[in-house]
Symmetry: C2
DNA sequence: CTGGCCATTGACAACGCTGTCACGGCCAGG
DNA sequence: CCTGGCCGTGACAGCGTTGTCAATGGCCAG
């Protein structure tokens, strides 16, 4: 036989109508036991698997959800997607990933594409600033926004205390005696990073420390530029005694640069954990932004909406904590 | 208007038949310029996006491919998927991920599910030993096997020199004077790891070193068990002077255990790179198993098959190299 | 014995799209 | 003038599934 078996094949083998096959496959009550058995046998013999494309077309709601993120190569999002996929598998739902590469226009295209795939729901870590298009294209399908947001009304969201957490990180460094604290992060287009930068500024302001623009490095959200920026900071006439890295990927670069420059005496706090952060010398103090609870909360919201719950938009804000491990507790080296 | 626009909506607005809309949308030649313009205007006005579920049902070939891997949380696979998704996006194809969690039965279920999604092709990093089911369920759809295989005939494959690479790693340690070299890895069910273990044994045999079962640690493919196994190795009366870790995730655990046990004097080589491996003290010597060329090669094969090429099954084996960084070049500490 | 009810089952349409085929109009060649 | 072919276009079927509705038959109360 060529091609996969259809309900017609099963029906023919079992000697029933296609509708009865459909009923058995979908677990309907109104099927007699002998009939059910015949159908099940036929299903097993033919290795019948429901064509979920036809199912999706017919029912209008697919058995996949879409997840829109920066890049799956980012370990934060990788872990996020992993948890989501695990939970969705239990519901028999597949996960379609679409990466934006941090381009707002590409985000829009990806969301439209996913909508065209009849996904049942969308989980988006938004990039751009204008998200009005989402409503146009998703047409009432459940949407949960993750890790970014704060300015988009009417959607369920899950985010972390970016500003508060960043302030806590910098407060921690200030409490350790630091006054020249560098900021490493992406440019302000990314809401999350913008918030963390505000937290950084909050902390400096609260301590009466003047902002030194030289210590504020943007456009370095990836390891390489972050490493380069860190190297430049080290070469300053009056270098920082501490670095606050606003995302884990940047932290990879910062750590590399500090180690390669043999300047592990410089204090550092990273917003977001990363592999081996606790095995370095010194171990890296982090702001704990664990993707797992974020993903869990997002999936809970998504499943609730997919079950048809019609409550108000829910906004979940997860707390974050400073996890001291060593690098954030280094004292400032001798002042010049 | 409720729901997304369909060809009927566009046809009505443009004053043409649905077929003509279809022709315009699909870039058929035989449409007059004025008609095309009217249709395009209507498409833009209604924000029409082709329902790819209906398209997929009708044409029988979807616009998504499926990728079956252990876990997207594994950075090797995350990077792999990232490259694949990037390439596929250029072709207008979505990526459906399905993780097996290293369970053979789950692998089978996932492959069947993806087949039911009408995916156009499948890229699988196989787990189990019996893959005869693949042919049943994929029914002639292009399939490329990645990173595992060697025993499955008739499929395109991309793999790395597992055995040769592992032997090179252990040779490297032996050349450095080591004779008590531990092996850390998953159990032998995983073809890749089994091959690497053979490479380890090859190297020992070639050097005339007797295998010490105490130094052969299996069932530790994840960081935690690998760390536990390493700790146990360190506690042996006659501990190893070097460790060969057969996969990057295990290496994370090994590194953690070595650092926490303050035994960074123990030499180590990791099969597969990981983040910060070059920033540790000492930096970790690796066997370079870069996911990018693997993904590129796999995508090339997949696209060729999707274009209908009918050549013989192609088996690509990518070479691997030892990248010395320090940890693999440590001399054995004083013999007891 | 009969009417009515319920459980079981099936015929048919429809989801949105594209492939097939047919139709009308135009032009070139006879 | 007629004919044949090509171009632009549309009517219709059908991909595999489920929802709607009706038909069948068995069983029980009257």
């Amino acid at each position: 036989m060529s091609g996969r078996a259809t309900v017609y094949d099963v029906a023919r083998v079992a000697g029933v109508s296609i509708k009865t096959v459909s009923r058995v496959v979908n677990g309907s009550e109104h099927v007699s036991e002998p009939t059910r058995q015949r159908v099940l046998t036929a299903v097993a013999d033919l290795a019948y698997v429901r064509n979920s494309v036809a199912y999706s077309l017919r029912t209008g709601s697919g058995d996949a959800i879409g997840v829109v993120i920066d890049s799956i190569a980012d370990s934060f999002f990788a872990k996020l997607v992993s948890v989501i996929e695990e939970r969705m598998l239990a519901e028999g739902i597949s996960v379609l990933i679409a990466s934006t590469g941090r381009s707002g226009s590409r985000e829009r295209g990806q969301v439209a594409r996913l909508a065209g795939q009849n996904v049942r729901a969308l989980l988006i870590a938004p990039i751009g600033n204008d998200h009005s298009y989402i409503a146009d294209v998703t047409q009432g399908m459940p949407v949960v926004l993750v890790d970014r947001d704060w300015e988009i009304a009417g959607y369920d969201t899950v985010l972390v205390q970016d500003r508060v957490g960043a302030k806590a990180a910098v407060d921690h460094l200030i409490a350790g005696g630091h006054r020249r604290i560098a900021f490493i992060g992406d440019n302000g287009d990314l809401p999350t990073i913008a918030e963390r930068r505000l937290g950084y500024l909050d902390a400096l302001a609260a301590a009466g420390i003047e902002v030194d623009e030289l210590l504020l490095r943007t456009a370095c959200g990836e390891p390489e530029p972050a490493a380069a920026a860190t190297a430049e900071l080290l070469a300053l006439p009056d270098p920082p005694t501490a670095v606050f890295s606003s995302n884990p990927r940047a932290s990879l670069g910062v750590v590399r640069a500090l180690h390669q420059g043999l300047r592990t005496d410089i204090a550092m706090v990273s917003f977001g954990d990363f592999a081996l952060a606790d095995s370095l010398e010194p171990a890296v103090t982090i702001i704990d932004q664990d993707p797992t609870p974020i993903a869990e909360a997002a999936v809970d919201l998504l499943l609730a909406r997919m079950r048809g719950e019609q409550s108000e938009a829910t906004n979940i804000v997860l707390p974050v904590n400073v996890v001291p491990r060593g690098s954030g507790e280094l004292a400032p080296w001798n002042r010049s």
